[in-house]
Symmetry: C2
């Protein structure tokens, strides 16, 4: 399932490009105050950690991942205010954080609400959770072709077979709410690319989205999901949308929820709301 | 083709609701200076004209439509700075305007570039065109069902059979550029609806989008595009997305282009750029 985790160099490179091109869109409104203790759950190779920690230089991040290989890549980065730790969210010792940040993680989990509920137990009263996910069903483009959508569908099906959901972005609102968070606010972050935006043509259409779909060629063919010729035609069609007269649209979703605790629960705890 | 034009009362009501809920999203960045002469091409029942003229009270609008019935509805509105005129874009006498505004019109035309090029001839040098269109292929939601997409596809197919393209939003950039406009800038205007936005659940998911799809029941069934039971299931599924744990996404596209004229063409004309 190498397409899911991002261990290899090419995948690391892709995730890094993506983080570069989309930083402002995804992270622009996230910063944590001095001294805040923030848990980043599922940091992977640290693609988001770089931005997260740089935007909140006086917050203290604990970035966890189950994969030692991913963490090894992350350790190669400049992350002065981050403690990288190999840990599984569900079995790590209990600890309380002011805020939690989760990006491109829930899409891989068979029970995202359970993960969110577990994260809620690690938040102080009044603490917030921020969740960012993509939604591969939000991709549409010009020119449209059936082959391009069939190639995309290979990734969707592989992720589903691995227990994930790559159409999860549109579901963030009910998921975060079902986990018990309140004041849940979801905002879409749409990437729209046309001939007037060559940086996004290269950084997003080609090197992020199309590269990601190209990355599932081997497992998709191995499982007989699609023929090689058809898959390659779909990839060529995706590259065609990167021409000067093509367009490409994709939407990420960002949710923020609060761990509101009832007044009764707080009696004598000395906990306070807000930062 | 009554679903295309919006003559009847129910359709007028729908277009009016839509204008109300989406005014800020679509029109927020459009206003014209005092004295500017603005052509609104294809004003229909005046659903956009109301907002357009109210936001630029000192501009002078000429709003044209081919349909006397639509104009009769528009004449019932408060439009102090608007001259409503029954005219066909391609045959109306030549006249020059400072700006042109076209909303929800190109989707119905077999040759949108020809219409845009014709509009360009009616613009002064340096004048702008503003185009707003939807894109029914941008609709996705939770829960997703095949029946809902099949019902939507009926409208797409009917519009295509009538020579239009209800997936035109994503193509605005190449279309406006192909018509000869320069400095073309397209921005998506995404409507995202979840349980925290009851006004949009009612105003957009139910009363705009789902009502629009419901409106093609009769022609879709008459043409044998879909069975009655399946269509109704699709509509029920669209209403289901309006529940508290559902979500709905749709994107409009807005393009602005400029009628740049080469220095040679301007020699001795006394025309100046900008307002």
């Amino acid at each position: 399932m190498s397409y899911v985790h991002g261990y290899d160099d090419r995948e690391s490179e892709r995730l890094h490009d993506q983080a570069g091109a989309l930083v402002e869109l995804l992270h622009g409104d996230t910063s944590y105050p001095a001294g805040a203790r923030v848990l980043e759950a599922g940091c992977g190779v640290g693609a988001q950690t770089v931005t997260l920690s740089a935007r909140s230089p006086k917050a203290r991040f604990t970035s966890i991942d189950v994969s030692a290989e991913s963490l090894a890549v992350a350790r190669g980065r400049e992350l002065p205010n981050v403690e990288l730790r190999q840990a599984d969210l569900f079995t790590m010792p209990h600890e309380t954080f002011d805020h939690v940040f989760v990006c491109f993680v829930l899409e891989h989990l068979p029970d995202p609400v359970a993960a969110l509920a577990r994260l809620k137990t690690m938040l102080r009263p009044g603490g917030t959770i921020t969740v960012i996910e993509g939604d591969h069903g939000s991709a549409y483009f010009h020119p449209e072709t059936a082959a391009a959508h069939e190639a995309i569908q290979c990734l969707v099906a592989l992720q589903a077979a691995a227990g994930g959901d790559s159409l999860i972005g549109r579901r963030l609102y009910p998921l975060v709410r079902d986990a018990g968070f309140e004041d849940v606010r979801v905002s879409p972050r749409m990437v729209y690319v046309d001939g007037s935006r060559p940086d996004l043509i290269d950084g997003f259409t080609r090197r992020t989205f199309t590269a990601m779909i190209e990355g599932v060629r081997e497992p998709a063919l191995a499982r007989g999901m699609i023929g090689a010729e058809r898959f390659d035609a779909g990839i060529a069609d995706l590259h065609r949308t990167a021409a000067d007269d093509g367009t490409f649209s994709y939407t990420f979703f960002k949710a923020v929820g609060t761990n509101v605790v009832e007044a009764d629960d707080l009696a004598g705890s000395g906990a306070s709301f807000g930062d």
